[in-house]
Structures are given as structure tokens and as C-alpha cells.
């Protein structure tokens, strides 16, 4: 792990102030920011203007990217990390944390995003993978990483590589929540099953999940992932957000669902309310009224590219 001192630029500590023991980039510090995002909505934005709309609607964080997943699907081609100028413009426009996407395995894009001071790097299947076998060694970075997963084994492999936050992959850019539900149910269902296993069976689980046995044992003991579990991929309505929260997600990412709808500000605000009040159907009914057209959705079977199949 990369731990480095972070003392003040000048002057000597006085009174009770002591910088000698300061360490940055510990697991607790990296996972800590994800803990603070719980119960919130992280919104995909492509420019500073959208970032302001997201912040004004109550987003806990924004995800900077060049094109939202729906446009990546439509236009095709290789999808890469955003232009640094765009990331910096978004950082300058809002005070909430800013995340940005790097390609799977593209550790140099991640280095660049770290140098820009983004608050989280999303090693994302939405972009075109840069490595067909290896993900980024995330322990080598000070910036925390979020990674997608479709099942528990994938989640644990990403955590073993240093991910400080896991999200379901879902099927980004479809406006169809079915894959996100499948992935959440798979991860949470397997966690429940692991907690029922005896100590000998945990080795079998580790083999089956292709994941380190120490992490499997930790889950058996605590009944949860060692990092927060958020939901992403295809959420388009307040009801979608509340659905995945009731299923056990701890926060939601909304990508194309907001800025591909007819009234982004209103829909964003409604999804924020729904994520907080996810167990209150009366409030969900109220915030779901008159939101205008949601983004156009897609059937999963008709897709040419399944983004969730990227990553290993």
C-alpha cells in the first residue's frame, strides 16, 4: 500500500497539534469516502453545466465522463478516459466529490486521473477495456477505486486488487434495471449462502468464487463485503432507485437515466428523494409524479454489446 506523510507546508505544530502520525491512502481512508456516500446518488455528467445541475439536485458526487453510456452504445468506437480539461472544469464547478472513469487495466489513465486529484477512479466496463486479462493494481495508488461486479467472485477479486468500493455493473446505457437487479441478487444471495457455510466449506467457496479464502472467511464472519456495495447500470426512475435500495444496495449510480430524460433536474431531484425515502411508497408516489419522459429503454436481448461481460 502506498502510504505517505502529509505534513503542512510550513511552520511547526504547536499545542495539541501533531502531524507526525498523519498517513494518507490507508484502506480506512479510501473506503471512508465511500461510507460517506451511502444513501446518496452519484450522477454521470459530461460537462460543468450538468455537474452543477446534479449538485443542485442533491447528488452526493458526480462521475465525469466524455459520453454517457447510452451515447457510447449509439456511436460505438473506442470509449476512453475523459479529456483532463473536462475533468478539471467539472472539479471547478462543484464542491462535492468528483469521480472519473478509466478503462479496465489502463493504469496510466488511472495515474492521470490521480494526478488531476479526482476523488475516486471508476475502473469501468463502460469504457473499452485496455487489458483483456488484468485489472489495475489498485493498491499502488493513493486515489481510491470503485469497480463493477456481476457476482460475488468478481467483487472479491476486485477488492483483492485494492478496490475500495464495489458497484453492480448492471447494463449501462439501457435504462433497463433488470441486469442490476440480477447482479445485486447474485452478490447478496451468495453472501448469505457463505455465512451459512462451515469452516471447511469456505475453502470450496473460495475455489468456486475464484477469490482469496481470507476474504471469503471475512464475509462468513461479518455477513457483508469489506467495502460498501452500491448499485449501477440501467437505473432510470425513482422507483428503480428505491427497488435496488430495498434489495440491499447502499447507494446508487445513475448514468444516462438523468441527462437522457426530458427534465434532468427534476428527475435527478426525484431520484435523490427516492434513494433516501426508499421504504416510503407514499413519498415515492409523490416524487414520481409528472417527471416527463424517462430515457428510452432497451431490451437486453436486443443489445449488440453487453458491457457487463467486460472484466474478469
Amino acid at each position: 500500500m502506498n502510504e505517505r506523510g502529509n505534513g503542512p507546508r510550513s511552520g511547526s505544530p504547536t499545542g495539541q497539534a501533531s502531524d507526525d502520525s498523519r498517513v494518507t491512502a490507508t484502506s480506512r481512508v479510501k473506503r471512508g469516502l465511500a461510507e460517506m456516500l451511502r444513501g446518496g446518488v452519484i450522477m454521470d455528467v459530461v460537462d460543468a453545466e450538468q455537474a452543477k445541475v446534479a449538485e443542485g439536485a442533491g447528488a452526493v458526487s458526480v462521475m465525469a465522463l466524455e459520453r454517457v453510456p447510452a451515447d457510447i452504445r449509439r456511436h460505438g468506437g473506442v470509449a476512453r478516459m475523459s479529456d483532463p480539461a473536462l475533468v478539471q472544469a467539472i472539479q471547478g464547478a462543484v464542491t462535492i466529490p468528483v469521480m472519473a472513469k478509466a478503462r479496465i487495466g489502463h493504469f496510466v489513465e488511472a495515474q492521470i486521473l490521480e494526478a488531476l486529484g479526482v476523488d475516486y477512479v471508476d475502473e469501468s466496463e463502460v469504457l473499452t477495456p485496455a487489458d483483456e486479462a488484468h485489472h489495475v493494481d489498485k493498491w499502488a495508488f493513493s486515489v481510491p477505486f470503485v469497480c463493477g461486479a456481476t457476482n460475488l467472485g468478481e467483487a472479491l477479486r476486485r477488492i483483492s486488487e485494492g478496490a475500495a468500493l464495489i458497484r453492480s455493473k448492471g447494463e449501462a446505457g439501457t435504462g433497463n434495471v433488470v441486469e442490476a437487479v440480477r447482479h445485486l441478487r447474485s452478490i447478496l444471495g451468495d453472501i448469505r449462502r457463505v455465512t451459512q457455510a462451515d469452516s471447511a466449506e469456505l475453502y470450496g467457496w473460495a475455489k468456486q468464487l475464484q477469490a482469496p479464502v481470507a476474504l471469503v472467511q471475512e464475509i462468513a464472519e461479518t455477513g457483508r463485503l469489506p467495502v460498501p456495495l452500491f448499485c449501477a447500470g440501467g437505473l432510470a426512475t425513482p422507483a428503480d432507485a428505491a427497488l435496488v435500495m430495498q434489495l440491499g444496495a447502499e447507494a446508487v449510480f445513475v448514468g444516462s437515466g438523468i441527462f437522457k430524460s426530458s427534465d434532468p433536474s427534476r428527475r435527478a431531484r426525484a431520484i435523490v428523494e427516492a434513494t433516501t425515502h426508499y421504504r416510503r411508497p407514499d413519498i415515492l408516489a409523490e416524487v414520481s409524479r409528472d417527471l416527463g419522459e424517462p430515457m428510452m429503454g432497451s431490451e437486453i436481448d436486443g443489445l449488440e454489446v453487453r458491457l457487463s461481460e467486460r472484466g474478469w
Binding site: T24, M36, G39, T95, V143
Partner: protein, 202 residues
């Protein structure tokens, strides 16, 4: 005792686990009616701009402000400290605070997430050695009123800057004791709840 946790957004579950461990009865508060019967309130870490907005839309802002003015003990960590302060120097224009403790605070005072850190911190009134303090995009106190006790400071640009403060029955910390496995600040807070928290906080 029943201790409410403002549960609009943030690390609510961690506070709930700590409070339950210490024998209190944690109650998640998302609606005004859930304030009834609580003896104290914890305001967790999270995104203060989001919580501020949800406090308005949920109708919670005014009833919580009334309870705080009536002396209800409160403990705010990070974003919770911002919400309890009188002034946010760099908040959104529409961001409202409770003014339950005379502090001007500055958000994200240490920089971005890569500058977030943990360190050992001596806190007055907390016995048994320094606490491990986890600062996540943390705020600091830019100015504390005369009635405020400063219980701990850290150096910011070489100057000691308050990060744990108390005024009456209101306790705030710029860091996250709920993340570090050290419950002594929560104990300090609860010891104040047991003693009634009567009388106005200011």
C-alpha cells in the same frame, strides 16, 4: 435511552452500531414524526449539501432546530459538524445550518480525497491516550465563538485549528470516530445525554 441518527444520507449504519454497542437505542430519523421520543440526535458524516436539501424537503429542518434550541444533546461528525454550525464559509448559497454551536466552518479544508488522512489525536476530556482520527475530505473550524470549548486541534498550514468542539450539550468532530473503532467520543456524548441535557444549548 433513545438516540436518533439523522438518516437522510451518510454513514448512518456505523453510528448505529456504535450506539447499540454502548447500550443506547439507535433510531433512524427520516421524517418529523420519528423525532418524537428521542433523547438526543447524532448527525453523521456524509455530503452536507445533500443533507441540507433533504432536511428542507423532508420537513425535518424546523422541528430539529426547535429541539436543538430546547437543549436536545447533539453530536455531529464531519458533515454533521457543518450542519450544527452557525456559518459555512464555502457552502452553497442555499445551504442552511442549525446554529446550535457557535462555529464558522470551512468545508474540504484539507483538500481532495488523496489528501484525506488518519492520525493520532489527543482530545481533552477523553482519557486513555490519543484517539485514531480519520479525516475524510474534512471540514475545519475557521472561527469558534467565546462559549465554545475546543477539545482538540490539528495543524493546518502550521496553525493549530479546532477539530473537536463542545458548547453546552452540543459536541462536534471534524473527523469520523465511528470509522476507527474507538467509541470514547460517543461515550462522552452519551454521558451528557444521561444527565438530562436540560436548558438551552446556548
Amino acid at each position: 435511552m433513545k438516540v436518533g441518527i439523522l438518516a437522510l444520507q451518510g454513514d448512518v449504519g456505523e453510528h448505529a452500531r456504535v450506539l447499540a454497542d454502548l447500550g443506547a437505542d439507535p433510531i433512524e430519523v427520516r421524517a418529523p414524526e420519528e423525532l418524537a421520543g428521542i433523547d438526543a440526535l447524532v448527525l453523521p458524516g456524509g455530503e452536507s449539501t445533500t443533507m441540507s436539501m433533504l432536511l428542507e424537503s423532508s420537513g425535518l429542518f424546523d422541528p430539529i432546530a426547535d429541539r436543538l434550541a430546547g437543549g436536545m444533546p447533539a453530536f455531529g461528525t464531519c458533515a454533521g459538524m457543518i450542519l450544527l454550525a452557525t456559518e459555512v464559509l464555502d457552502g452553497r448559497r442555499d445551504q442552511r445550518c442549525f446554529g446550535a454551536i457557535e462555529l464558522s466552518v470551512r468545508r474540504n479544508a484539507f483538500g481532495r480525497q488523496v489528501d484525506s488522512f488518519e492520525s493520532d489525536l489527543d482530545v481533552s476530556d477523553v482519557v486513555g491516550g490519543p484517539m485514531r482520527a480519520v479525516f475524510i475530505r474534512a471540514p475545519v473550524v475557521a472561527l469558534a465563538g467565546e462559549g465554545v470549548d475546543v477539545l482538540a486541534t490539528v495543524a493546518v498550514g502550521g496553525a493549530p485549528t479546532p477539530v473537536v468542539c463542545r458548547q453546552g450539550s452540543v459536541l462536534v468532530a471534524a473527523f469520523h470516530p465511528e470509522l476507527a473503532g474507538d467509541w470514547r467520543l460517543h461515550e462522552l456524548f452519551l454521558s451528557n445525554v444521561g444527565s438530562g441535557g436540560d436548558g438551552p444549548a446556548r
